[in-house]
Symmetry: C2
Subunit: 170 residues, 2 copies
Amino acid sequence: MRVLGVDPGTWRTGVGILDFEKGACNPVHYEVLWLQGKSKKDYQELSKRLRKIHDSLTEVFKIYKPDVMALEDVFYGQDFKAAVRIGEARAVAILAATEFDVRVSEYSPTQVKSAVCGNGRASKIQIQYMVRHLLKLRENPPADAADALAVAICHCHSSKYVQLSTGNSR
Amino acid sequence: MRVLGVDPGTWRTGVGILDFEKGACNPVHYEVLWLQGKSKKDYQELSKRLRKIHDSLTEVFKIYKPDVMALEDVFYGQDFKAAVRIGEARAVAILAATEFDVRVSEYSPTQVKSAVCGNGRASKIQIQYMVRHLLKLRENPPADAADALAVAICHCHSSKYVQLSTGNSR
């Protein structure tokens, strides 16, 4: 099973791809889409950024052919405006997935942190460190890519439990 | 100038189209996209709803060929989760606009209410009533369609001011 993890944001979107085979997660690819525009207030810029997220993820779907896309659910952040922005980035990722008939799975931040660090309140740095350790990477992945890989790892863990209980890995 | 107003939501999205000619707004079309799924918690359903908003708006762009899309900006609502959902619906509307090279203009709720009702704190019912009155409609449009028409009217008003000051209606 190939899992695409996405950490969506309208300024930076993290992308991480894993193969989950025989109970092990093997890294395939990770990257951060940088979406900087000239001004945060410029709406043409936002629409260009959303278009870029969509088009870049479309390329990822074409090249890597994931079976599933895993996203972190959003809960009770500090900033209403930021929540709207996260929703915007999430939507274009979900839309790209539907174009390739790839199903979308969603996990809470606590589930992701628990799956990767064994602690639902782990820090960003702990996630980076554990993702590097679990995937045997030579260096820490960038924070946004680490978050994307973390949600992909979380999906593999959840699938493993499903496999144990139902005998079906997908 | 043809203006498409959109009031985005992942359960209902309002659509309203006006022609703005010689200082007057003439209604062309309005509708509410109903996006009900089986369950609010079912993510497949959300992705289907986002796809439906995108595909329905794509049809609107093809049929009515608007020059500009007007959206209400989102400010300080009560619910973080609701903000994410609004962002999701906004994004697919913006993405559809970029596919047709239609520019996106954005107005605050206060701007929209002031443009339509002369009062930045007008109620939903006042907006419905004034939209009906301003566009000489035979009946009140549904609330979501009225909001979409209201943001389109707001864009026309703003364009009128631009016209007065620069001699250019667009």
